[in-house]
């Protein structure tokens, strides 16, 4: 089953490749989510984000999420790819996607992939503002 899942941590995300990776003769639908750097967070201007990961564990956790999605929905292809390092405003930082026979499956799976990734995968994001830097979600 593993040929259908593409799990990666990369320095740079090429969004244009993801559709080809998800395309499949038995898929009527492909749903893709791309997360990117927003210029403003709670009205503060962000200069950049910096992502750090515990790579060995992150890849394992991402693979678990893909496996779980394939158990919950009938998927033909799954992609989970996260970038690390410094990312400027508007750059993509994560792309997840799924393809399935009908659109319900790929939409629900895609949402599950990104929600679960944000909950469990050991990746950390530092917001870099003009005068300070903040690790997101670290304090209550």
């Amino acid at each position: 089953m593993n040929h259908i899942k593409k799990i990666e941590i990369v320095d740079q995300i090429d969004v244009s490749q993801v559709y080809d990776e998800l395309s499949h003769a038995n898929s009527g639908g492909v749903c893709v989510f791309v997360g990117s750097v927003r210029e403003f967070t709670q009205n503060e201007q962000v200069v950049a984000l910096e992502f750090e990961t515990y790579k060995a564990m992150a890849l394992k956790e991402m693979a678990k999420i893909a496996d779980e999605a394939c158990e919950k929905w009938q998927l033909n292809k799954v992609v989970i790819r996260h970038a690390v390092g410094r990312k400027e405003v508007q750059e993509p930082v994560v792309v997840v996607g799924a393809s399935s026979g009908h659109r319900d499956g790929c939409f629900e799976a895609c949402r599950f992939l990104i929600d679960t990734l944000k909950d469990t995968v050991p990746i950390w994001k530092k917001e870099i503002f003009k005068n300070k830097e903040v690790w997101v979600s670290s304090t209550p």
């Binding site: 997360g35 992502f51 750090e52 990961t53 515990y54 060995a56 564990m57 992150a58 394992k60 996260h82 930082v93 994560v94 990104i114 990734l117 944000k118 909950d119 469990t120 995968v121 050991p122 990746i123 950390w124 994001k125 530092k126 690790w135 997101v136 979600s137 670290s138 304090t139 209550p140």
Partner: protein, 80 residues
């Protein structure tokens, strides 16, 4: 026994890993390990959560840890 550190945990400790002094008694469980780390670095106690991974898997409080395990502190994740 060495502990890998990431994100804010790395900033708090000031290093990407922490080694327990060979002379002190080593923590035997995840719970003890977290306790000792928080004692040494009280700022760790202020995080919204602090998990521990043993051999790159999330571990429970009662999970035992031994020298040779790959141990990591997992402060609140924020990918995506």
């Amino acid at each position: 026994m060495e502990v890998l550190l990431f994100g804010i945990a790395k900033d708090i400790v000031g290093s990407s890993s922490y080694r327990f002094n060979d002379k002190e008694p080593k923590p035997l469980t995840v719970k003890e390990l977290k306790g000792k780390m928080r004692q040494a670095f009280p700022e760790l106690g202020k995080l919204s959560s602090l998990a521990v991974a043993v051999n790159s898997e999330y571990a429970e409080d009662h999970t035992s840890v031994v020298s040779g395990d790959e141990i990591a502190l997992i402060p609140p994740v924020s990918g995506g």
